[in-house]
Symmetry: C2
Subunit: 273 residues, 2 copies
């Protein structure tokens, strides 16, 4: 679902990993777009979903009831374009690329949503698996899709999220093939980051989640696994977008897949121990 | 703030620690009341706060913005008296004792709130420090107030919670004196339970939290410390009650202090690693 013309920012600029979050946001404000994996390394990237105030309670409750998929790191007041997580940021301009949704349909993918902004929008900033990938890599776990220069594969599962008001939808997961000797570290490291999806929802055969073919992800790219690798599935921050598509609120804004909001928070501050 | 006539249930019945959660709830439904510390050991006890639907978003947002003080384990739909955390339970009858609040004032402390129930009430079940005390005790940390047969001391601090809509109030903390040689275990064990307050908010001099005299807690009982003990402060589930008192919603129900709701969940299921 990535716009293929947007190249990964770490490919566009080999120094992107060393940008400060504020300088990354300034570049995005000036129109730069592209997948943000690896940008401003060590700083927390988050999913964005903005809904009309009338839908905010259902959204917040949906997140509370599905915390592994939708770990909320901040919620703005209605109409507020700032967040406690990023000093001086403007949520309407400071993401690389957005998606605009009307009645559950994707209608635009601009790099700036000032023209779409409404004073009743409440924005949810939701934890992202980039944070636990940093922890896994730090513990020596090979991250296959990064080694292969691809986006992580994501799958719509047969598990239903616990609904909240008008919001309902399937659990979406991301999958990383993990060598057996690294499985313990992968479980431990992600478990210690409950604010960014936490421990996996499933390890082993994909059929348990109703996934028919790991080679055909619903979002992102397929990844090549080694023969002994165990597929490990984590709840994915695309889940609230899937709920928007399924539940059709009259209006919503989100980030474009893989083009996240860069906060000033550091990944390690979400580690509980 | 405990009703002094209510004796601890583990004193009333020496077998109370071995009750099942369902049998404990049945006893409370029949009118038994008293502090629940140690009852149905190993099962998760939670704080209750029920507010009119009009106040539910502010309450949920207050909890999201103050997650260490207000870790939400379940939220009911408006008017629903059941919860996913306790099979067959009725939230109107199955707590030992309740508090009824009107315009921020305490107006009654009944053992049954069917007469006060409203079809627009949304109930929040919030994690409780009893869960991490179990983990601390399991790691060999002496729990002074339990050894001394007292309720944990709680203090209103000078720290303000991050407000949400009409809800605002001070951070309330509980304090446990910890011997220096057990400090590491106390920090580690509570950190691994982020759904029940997680790591401490402060260790050391109480003045940093604006607490003038540890011997005069705002709720609960003073506890005797050994000379080398370090006071350790955790965010406390009384915080949302303090917000209710400060913010004066027209109506609210809560549990009576120390007289918690017994769920079927097990404490160890909230441990992240």
């Amino acid at each position: 679902m990535n716009r293929t013309e947007d190249r990964p920012l770490t490919v566009v600029d080999e120094h992107a990993h060393a940008w400060s979050p504020a300088s990354a946001r300034a570049r995005f404000r000036d129109g730069l777009a592209g997948p943000t994996a690896g940008v401003a390394a060590g700083h927390t990237q988050v999913n964005l979903i903005s809904v009309p105030a009338d839908w905010a309670y259902d959204t917040l409750l949906f997140c509370q009831r599905n915390p592994k998929a939708c770990p909320v790191l901040d919620v703005t007041d209605a109409g507020d374009v700032t967040t406690a997580l990023a000093d001086g940021a403007d949520l309407r301009t400071d993401l690389p690329r957005y998606r605009v949704w009307q009645d559950g349909e994707l209608v635009d993918e601009p790099t700036d949503v000032r023209a779409y902004w409404r004073d009743d929008l409440v924005s949810f900033l939701i934890g992202c698996s980039f944070t636990f990938e940093w922890a896994l890599a730090g513990a020596g776990v090979p991250i296959r899709h990064i080694q292969q220069g691809r986006n992580v594969p994501m799958y719509v599962t047969s598990r239903r999220c616990r609904p909240a008001g008008r919001l309902r939808g399937p659990l979406v997961v991301s999958m990383r093939p993990v060598p057996p000797e690294h499985l313990s570290a992968a479980l431990r490291e992600s478990s210690l980051l409950p604010a960014v999806h936490g421990s996996p929802v499933h390890c082993g055969p994909a059929s348990a989640l109703g996934i028919e073919d790991l080679g055909r992800p619903d979002f992102g790219d397929p990844v090549d696994a080694e023969p002994d690798d165990i597929p490990v599935f984590w709840a994915c921050g695309v889940t609230p977008q899937a709920a928007v598509m399924a539940s059709r609120p009259p209006f919503a804004l989100t980030h474009a897949p893989g083009q996240m909001f860069l906060t000033d928070a550091r990944d390690d501050q979400y580690r509980v121990a």
